[in-house]
């Protein structure tokens, strides 16, 4: 028995040591920033974003933070990592503790989760504004209309159209291009390709050699572009990338062959790197979607519904399902946008409240999300 207890003691000691090691690992966690954790205070603003390590989402969060600061409210950020089920679970955790006069603005991460996210928010009586993803068949006015205040996005068809028009012009109306598409199940991905096709129909001299899916990712786009350069050689005159990250990948592949700046590349979003590349000539154009504005407007509208500044039932369809304005950035106007990037305007709730739809580009047309 003494042998046994000795063994047990040893086990305990060993386990104690390793526990200490684990605790040593765990303690620095305190540094990572526990925010004072209580039930969400009255009037909190909640945003749901796809990832933190992204310039776009950092700026979106900045816009929402501006509004929170102007209201002296708390901003709660949840990250889905592109997983709708993760978003649902995390929202559930926040709503669990009760949330009075809270407001939610979120990307539901994919069309499939829109209805569930809206429903979850409605159950908690939290007004919600969705961005980017909405299935064609459901709208704020027909699905939980009391709490789904609005949906807002950027016009992907126009974005693709602007890009392809610029390519057509740069190639003098003659040439062959290839397109890199985003994650196929997301509206911006197929909208931007639809815009590309629309522009090409008006520019018969330019043909589409190939389309590949790059899943919005820089590295995938780089591999695809490298394969194209090997396959098509001088037949490839331009690359259409559905977002800036993939445009960066395409430029990196061109750089490997010293072709950057010689074969025009287009993108969309208006990220800092893309603006720099437009300035240096590595990229032809990008389309400026202002995430700071998007963050500010989307959470401000949700908050307005939460405190009664607007009544969803009295809003028109154009106010509940709209695009925000976007602009083409080329070499001629890039300095203006670089300046905007460096000194983004600070939005306040009071200022937006005067007209929440000041920067609207109109109602989302029927069929846009098909």
């Amino acid at each position: 028995m003494s042998d046994q207890s000795h063994r047990l003691l040893q086990t305990v000691r060993r386990r104690g040591l390793s526990l200490a090691a684990v605790l040593g690992l765990a303690l620095p966690l305190g540094q990572i920033g526990m925010m004072p954790a209580k039930a969400a205070p009255k009037g909190s603003l909640i945003i749901g974003i796809d990832e933190t390590a992204s310039e776009y989402w950092a700026e979106y969060t900045q816009g929402a933070q501006d509004i929170a600061n102007s209201l002296n409210a708390k901003l709660i950020v949840v990250t889905s990592n592109y997983q709708g089920s993760q978003l649902l679970a995390q929202l559930g955790a926040i709503f669990a503790t009760g949330c009075d006069q809270c407001a939610l603005a979120t990307d539901p991460s994919s069309n499939a989760f829109v209805k569930a996210v809206v429903h979850r928010s409605a159950m908690a009586e939290v007004p919600i504004v969705t961005i980017w993803n909405r299935p064609e068949t459901i709208h704020p006015w027909d699905t939980d209309p009391k709490y789904w205040v609005a949906h807002t996005s950027f016009d992907g068809v126009m974005s693709g159209y602007y890009q392809a028009q610029a390519l057509c012009k740069a190639l003098g109306g003659h040439g062959q291009i290839a397109a890199i598409e985003g994650v196929p199940s997301t509206p911006p991905a197929y909208q931007r390709i639809a815009g590309l096709k629309k522009a090409l129909a008006e520019c018969p001299g330019v043909t589409l050699l190939d389309t590949e899916v790059g899943d919005w990712q820089e590295t995938k786009a780089q591999d695809i572009a490298r394969t194209w350069i090997a396959r098509y050689g001088s037949k490839l005159n331009g690359i259409f990338a559905s977002n800036d990250a993939m445009a960066r990948g395409a430029v990196a592949a061109l750089r490997e062959k010293n072709l950057n700046g010689k074969i025009p590349v287009t993108g969309s979003d208006g990220s800092k790197v893309a603006l720099d590349m437009v300035k240096s000539g590595d990229m032809l154009v990008t389309v400026w979607n202002d995430p700071v504005l998007q963050g500010a407007v989307s959470i401000a509208i949700a908050h307005a519904a939460a405190v009664g500044d607007i009544d969803p039932a009295k809003l028109s369809h154009a106010q509940r399902d709209f695009y925000l304005k976007q602009e083409v950035v080329d070499k001629s106007n890039v300095d203006h946008f670089l300046e905007l990037k460096a000194h983004a305007p600070v939005y306040t709730y009071a200022e937006l409240k005067a007209d929440f739809w000041k920067d609207s580009a109109g109602q989302i047309p029927v069929g846009a999300n098909k």
Partner: protein, 340 residues
């Protein structure tokens, strides 16, 4: 005495049933993946006549360079019979470290070569943690490396500044920009690492011990050899090479990216198995795994070339992996073999 039994363990691990016919068969078997590679190249050449051009082969070499480095590291862990799932997280952390320490457009750091060393060091540290958690704290490698995968992604997202950091360091950019005979330095780095770790695996004590651990760990433990050290070494090699891969990928993109390793893990594991490195450990090698990686790149490149859509590409590559692995193991089927 210890040495003798260790040698026995090594032998029993590598040659369970000797015989000339067996040797011949094993030799033929190791040629299998190479044959698959040649068949694929021929099929695509027939399907598209300009497949085997210098330009396209160079493109394949560029795409295969990083997967080859990753499978080389992974092979060491798989030879133990363990697994390392952390590479995507490690690459994210190393890419972010590199782009923030070398000259960039976000902060004033200018560490130059030391930045590269630090980024590789991050990979090494991850390997060390994986190895220690697996051997000293006795936790299964699958779950340990799953945890550190998340931690790597987390470190990258904490380090991420408000905007994508663009690398300006000429040393780092030079790795991707400098070309010899139409191939970037990345390809040569991959070849060098492959050769180096091939030699390490087959001509050093450590290499032999890693084979032995994979073949008969229990026996080896009884000989009193420092088995945990060998295992930690394998994890460190895997982490180190993932760190290097993160550096090379960032050099090629010219920026730091937290998603840089996305989608590289499962192809790397498949490549090891395709090449004939057994997941149960003890058999295989870095060269075989590298061939597996090249097979997958050829398949991917060829399917893009013949214009197969991205969805069909998933289906075909899954089927090819299954077919090749099934075919290469077919002759072993009749034995009383344990496959998990």
């Amino acid at each position: 005495m210890k040495l003798i039994s260790a040698t026995v363990a090594v032998r029993s691990a590598r040659e369970p049933d000797g015989g000339v016919a067996q040797h011949l068969r094993r030799w033929l078997q190791s040629l299998g993946p190479l044959a698959v590679l040649i068949v694929l190249l021929l099929v695509f050449e027939i399907a598209r006549h300009n497949f085997l051009t210098g330009g396209n082969l160079a493109a394949i070499a560029e795409s295969a360079a990083v997967p080859v480095i990753l499978t080389t590291g992974l092979s060491f862990v798989i030879l133990l019979g363990a697994i390392d799932l952390s590479m995507e997280g490690v690459m994210a952390a190393s890419s972010m470290t590199l782009s923030l320490l070398c000259a960039n457009d976000v902060n004033g750091n200018h560490w130059g070569v030391w930045g590269i060393a630090a980024a590789i060091g991050v990979g090494l540290a991850f390997g060390l943690v994986n190895g220690v958690l697996n051997t000293i704290l006795r936790m299964p490698s699958l779950i340990v490396t799953l945890g550190t995968w998340f931690i790597g992604l987390g470190i990258a997202s904490i380090l991420f500044p408000a905007q994508v950091p663009t690398v300006r360091d000429p040393w780092v950019l030079g790795i991707a920009a400098y070309h010899i005979a139409g191939l970037s330095l990345i390809v040569f780095v991959a070849l060098l690492l492959l050769l180096l770790f091939h030699l390490l695996l087959h001509y050093t004590h450590l290499g032999r011990m890693i084979f032995a651990v994979g073949g008969a760990e229990a026996t080896l433990v009884m000989t009193g050899l420092p088995v945990p050290l060998f295992k930690i070494a394998a994890f460190v090699i895997s982490g180190l090479l993932a760190g290097i891969a993160g550096v090379l990928l960032s050099a090629r993109l010219g920026d730091g990216n937290a998603n840089i390793g996305d989608g590289l893990l499962f192809p790397a594991v498949s490549a090891c198995v395709l090449g004939g490195t057994l997941l149960s450990g003890g058999r295989g090698g870095v060269l075989q795994s590298a061939i597996g990686a090249v097979v997958l790149e050829v398949l991917n490149n060829g399917l893009i070339q013949i214009g197969a859509g991205p969805y069909v590409r998933n289906i075909i590559s899954g089927a090819v992996i299954l077919l090749v692995v099934a075919a290469s193991g077919l002759h072993l089927r009749r034995k009383l073999r344990v496959v998990k």
